[in-house]
């Protein structure tokens, strides 16, 4: 595949560097499929989230904050991550990303395969993180309705090109977007 251009984050070049470099520069990425350590416990997954910023100190500082968002995790910290339900796994992946205190949180298809109520819950938390902690979040999402609700800015990608982009509220009014993605 031919590609050109560059990727920079906060003034630092990331093009060609591995994902570990991106993580160390403050980007937390929750991949499609979540990328949990299924064989490790809930707590060990969270500890891995803290790895990038010095595991021991970071997990001690960040765990209480994360447990505030997800109280069930504290009670079930020793459960094997692979035995959690799909929604719980998505929340754990999100929590693990938050432990790193990222400057940018990237969520890839967070709603994939989850029940609507769980999707609502996850996006509620994402909105809260954005509003209260000022966390920058980049979400790639098929569910346009949910995504437009949460986002302040949105882009529609068609075959790798930005087809439409702008303020979420305006994009909602855009006729093409409405017909193709929102279904009304």
């Amino acid at each position: 595949m031919r590609h050109s251009g560059e990727i920079a984050f906060a003034g630092k070049q990331l093009s060609g560097a591995g994902p570990d470099k991106a993580a160390r520069s403050g980007i937390a990425h929750v991949p499609e499929g979540r990328g949990l350590f299924a064989e490790l416990s809930v707590w060990e997954n969270l500890r891995m989230g803290a790895y990038v910023r010095g595991e021991r100190r970071t997990i001690r500082q960040e765990a209480p904050r994360v447990f505030e968002y997800f109280p069930w995790m504290e009670r079930r910290r020793n459960q094997q991550a692979g035995t959690l339900s799909g929604g719980e796994q998505q929340m754990l992946a999100l929590a693990r990303a938050l432990v790193a205190r990222p400057r940018l949180l990237m969520l890839d298809e967070p709603s994939l395969g989850l029940a609507p109520t769980v999707v609502q819950e996850i996006f509620r938390i994402v909105r809260e993180l954005n509003a209260e902690d000022g966390l920058t979040v980049l979400v790639v999402e098929q569910n346009a309705n949910v995504a437009l609700d949460a986002a302040s800015r949105a882009y529609v990608l068609e075959v790798g090109q930005v087809a439409v982009g702008g303020d979420s509220a305006e994009l909602r009014k855009h006729e093409g977007v409405r017909k193709s993605y929102l279904g009304y």
Partner: protein
């Protein structure tokens, strides 16, 4: 024949089986450490162990006392293991597994030749740090050397377990073994974790080599048989289970020793085929071994 005598003889066979088993367990654990991250069996594990044992012999031959030579050898083994991964395995890590397997077989042959070339093919005596006498517990005579071997091997296994269980680096290494892609997203330098794994495996091998050498004597081929026992132990325990490797090693050591002592037709010559039979039986009846990983997943 009085019953007490038979009992003490049995106990004696068990304890010396445990000592041999601890050596198999160390080498089996080395195999598992590498298998977990690279999905290949490191066929050169035995020769790496032999090579490092010769280094220890060289130090002692130059007059260095046992324990300093022991520690120095472990450090060299660690560096050597890391080096092998960085130089030989790294360039081919994304190639099909068979390519890596062939690389380890190549390394086996090369190291075997190199050992013979540097130190000569003749058999050498290798000192044990433990006296060759027995202590009587109850009416069972237990060889001090067996106790020492067992404690050194199992002590290192316990240290390693503590490392993996309680340190950040240990957690990261486990994470890499389970999911390297996700580990990268956590900021882990996966390549270095793999190299560390090879380093630890080489250390375990060196310990197995140095503990085996006083009994089997030091020559370039000394670990070939031990490696086969270690294979059998690792497969018996479950090739991806560290606990399995240790339990499998101890079990195999005891069973083979008892079979050799009590089942007439087994004797000394048939010990190795017995180990291979165990290997075969496990693969046929329970391919995941005693502790093999069955991942529980809910999607």
């Amino acid at each position: 024949m009085p019953l007490a005598f038979i009992w003490s003889d049995f106990a004696q066979q068990v304890t010396s089986g445990l000592a041999a088993g601890a050596i198999y367990a160390s080498l089996a654990l080395a195999l598992v450490l590498i298998y977990q991250t690279t999905n290949v069996v490191n066929f050169a594990q035995g020769e790496m162990a032999t090579f490092t044992t010769f280094i220890a012999w060289m130090f002692m031959d130059h007059g260095m006392p046992y324990w300093p030579a022991f520690v120095l050898t472990l450090l060299i083994a660690f560096a050597g293991g890391v080096g092998v991964e960085r130089v030989l395995i790294r360039p081919i890590e994304h190639r099909p597994e068979i390519v890596i397997v062939i690389m380890t077989i190549g390394l086996l042959i090369a190291l075997n030749g190199l050992t013979g070339w540097i130190w000569g093919p003749e058999v050498k005596a290798f000192d044990s740090p433990f006296p060759n006498r027995s202590v009587i517990v109850g009416n069972v005579a237990i060889s001090v050397r067996d106790i020492g071997t067992f404690c050194v091997c199992l002590g290192v296994v316990v240290l390693l377990w503590l490392f993996f269980r309680f340190t950040t680096l240990g957690l990261a290494m486990r994470a890499v073994a389970f999911n390297p892609d996700a580990s990268r997203l956590m900021g882990v330098r996966v390549g270095w974790m793999l190299a560390l794994g090879w380093g630890f495996a080489a250390v375990l091998g060196a310990i197995a080599g140095m503990m085996a050498a006083p009994t089997v004597f030091l020559d370039p081929d000394m670990m070939i048989v031990v490696l086969i026992y270690a294979f059998a132990a690792a497969v018996l325990g479950g090739i991806d289970s560290p606990i399995g490797a240790v339990v499998g090693g101890l079990l195999l050591g005891v069973v083979i020793n008892l079979l050799g002592a009590y089942v007439n037709f087994v004797g000394n010559e048939l010990r190795l085929p017995t180990a291979l039979a165990v290997l075969l039986l496990v693969l046929v009846i329970r391919p995941t071994g005693l502790f093999g990983r069955r991942v529980v997943r809910r999607v």
